[in-house]
Amino acid sequence: MPKLGTSIRIISAVAAAALLAVVVAGTAGARSDATVSGAGSTFVSPLVAQWQQAVGGALGIELQYSPIGSGGGIAAITSRTVDFGASDAPLTSDQFNACNGCEQIPWALGGTSIMYNLPGVKNLLHMDGATLAKIFMGQITKWSDPAIASLNKGVSLPDTAITIAHRSDNSGTTYNLTDYLSSVSPSWKSQLGVGVAVNWPVGVGAKGSSGVAGVVASTPGAIGYADVAFALQNHLKYFAMKNNSGKFTTPGSRGILAAASSDQKPAADNSLSIVNPPKKFANAYPISTFTYVIVPLQTSKAADLKKLLFWAVTHGQTGTYTAKLRFVPLPKSVLVVDEKAISKIHS
């Protein structure tokens, strides 16, 4: 059954992509006050989809969004084929230069789940950073490995081989995961490092969060990573991750919010790092991330874009939109920064 569900989802994603051109052409003809278009992160796409209708009613703005991946979103805003881009990874300096007068604004907060498919094991499995790094480096290849077993006493783990599923495109979710692995494993940091794509030593590449979730769903023994919403959609289990206080936490609102409170001061480029927070944030889920909207400072759509973004970081954060998807409302300290950043946009 999960196989069928996955196929339907993948097919509908492709159908949606194919229909995009038609929809864009159709809506261009329809009477509408204003259209704001964006593209990028698949991580944030379930939340943006929730916003679309509300924005139409409240602001009279038609919001269009294509979830083509963070890398694609950065490329799209750099070439100005959209009004905004969305990325879970902050821009690199080369990307900032190429984008020519862009700023990034944190506009959503969520967690990356480490999903797994292990038939026959009912328990919610525990995992810690060092072991996860070894798994993603191909040093631990079986579920029955002592390192996994010692984290899950009392659970009988099968001898199944582990298959890693990772993103083949440039992805902010990959950035979030590798950022975490680098902070918990010195050998990951020196051999692989942090990036929207890394030189994966093992595993199977798939496109988009839905692609990774699809591989995990159809491969017994697989481990992959994506925004929690994708794990829930595919009925996949995900690890409870051990944080610095020794607690095992899941990517729910409590854990993510606790992690977010660890960085109250955005850097000059508005980026925030909340991965693997220190011990005093006892409930923190260690693989949490802010995700960013990237906008040009000068744009002919300044008025509509400002209205839209202001709505997104305030009304858009309420439980009606965020709770079901396991996104978490932005903390006040970040809101202050966002308002200042939004007011800089001009025509």
Binding site: G73, Q95, N199, W200, V204
Partner: protein, 330 residues
């Protein structure tokens, strides 16, 4: 060059002594313009590729072509085309190996053996295969072919032929070089088979009937008359297919699984020049990475041009030999 010549002097050689007619002039201008446009376009593409790849070209030089590395992490950056070049050669070679006998078989069946009632519908169906968009073939590869190969074909090949390094440990997730090979073979099959069919139909029926009249079996007739007669054309069709296989990006990206390494196990994952470009061009994190991706494109272009030149050489050689043998028989 020739394009420029045509458009430069609108000659009226065929109409010497007559008035130049407006229609002829228009035809000259349009056709010449189209030829010139195509030439300029190829030039522009090459120039743009070299220009875009310049940062990587000047940093890595030719060492890039064989180096096995692809690390896009800022601070660890190092790029090379070695593993992708290997992947491209392996996938297209084996795809051709799988597709050739099938395509020629299909073509022979449709041109020589099939009853008339079957011919038309089957021909139409085979040609429809060529019209299926590659992204759909890739999707079918993910959902149907990959899992089927993983659970049935790969373990079977591994248990029987596992001593050959090509048939190593079966893939776990259904994404593998092998899946990519089969997908590519399916994509080049209709091209090769429809060209071959046309070629076989073009074999003069006197020759075929003559052979049959001498008492040959159908198979002997095919082997002795039809195949030798169309050898050059088949070679050209195969190279066309090879070009398609080498350049295909989307469908391969969907099923090959990725990875920067060289190994001979077809059931492992890998990457090709085209699939790497398709997967990572959008949102490359540094200028050096984009330049290196364009460098991959440049290598792919050179590879395709080389394949084309070899193809033309083969066709010319084979058809010359062919002319000699035919003369000898007569």
């Amino acid at each position: 060059m020739s394009a420029a010549d045509i458009s430069a002097e609108p000659v009226r050689r065929p109409f010497t002594g007559r008035r130049v007619r407006f229609g002829d002039l228009l035809l000259q201008a349009l056709a010449g313009g189209a030829a010139l446009g195509a030439t300029v376009l190829v030039g522009l593409i090459v120039w743009k590729l070299i220009d875009g790849a310049h940062p990587a070209l000047s940093k890595y030089g030719l060492g890039f072509v064989t180096r096995i590395a692809w690390n896009p992490v800022v601070g660890h950056e190092l790029y090379g085309a070695g593993s992708f070049l290997f992947g491209t050669v392996i996938t297209s070679f084996f795809a051709l190996l799988v597709a050739t006998p099938l395509a020629i078989g299909v073509a022979l069946f449709l041109s020589e053996l099939a009853p008339r009632v079957v011919q038309a519908p089957v021909t139409a169906l085979v040609e429809t295969l060529a019209a299926v968009p590659s992204v759909l073939v890739g999707l079918w590869g993910i959902l149907v072919l990959g899992p089927a190969l993983r659970t049935h074909i790969e373990p079977w090949l591994h248990s029987g032929l596992g001593w050959i390094p090509l048939f190593g440990t079966p893939s776990a997730a259904g994404a593998s070089v092998f899946t990519a090979i089969i997908v590519l073979a399916i994509m080049i099959l209709p091209i090769v088979s429809s060209i071959s069919r046309e070629l076989f139909l073009g074999v003069p029926s006197e020759l075929k009937e003559g052979a049959l009249a001498l008492g040959t079996t159908r198979w002997e007739m095919v082997r002795g008359v039809v195949l030798p007669y169309s050898r050059g054309g088949i070679a050209a069709a195969l190279i066309l297919g090879l070009g398609r296989a080498m350049g295909e990006a989307i469908a391969v990206t969907q099923v090959i699984g990725g990875g920067v390494f060289i190994h001979w196990n077809l059931f492992g994952t890998g990457d090709t020049l085209g699939s790497k470009i398709a997967a990572s061009y959008q949102g490359a994190s540094t200028n050096l990475q984009s330049a290196s991706l364009i460098y991959l494109g440049l290598i792919l272009l050179v590879l395709s041009l080389a394949a084309n030149i070899v193809a033309q050489w083969i066709v010319r050689r084979v058809s010359r030999q062919h002319g000699v043998t035919r003369g000898g028989h007569a």
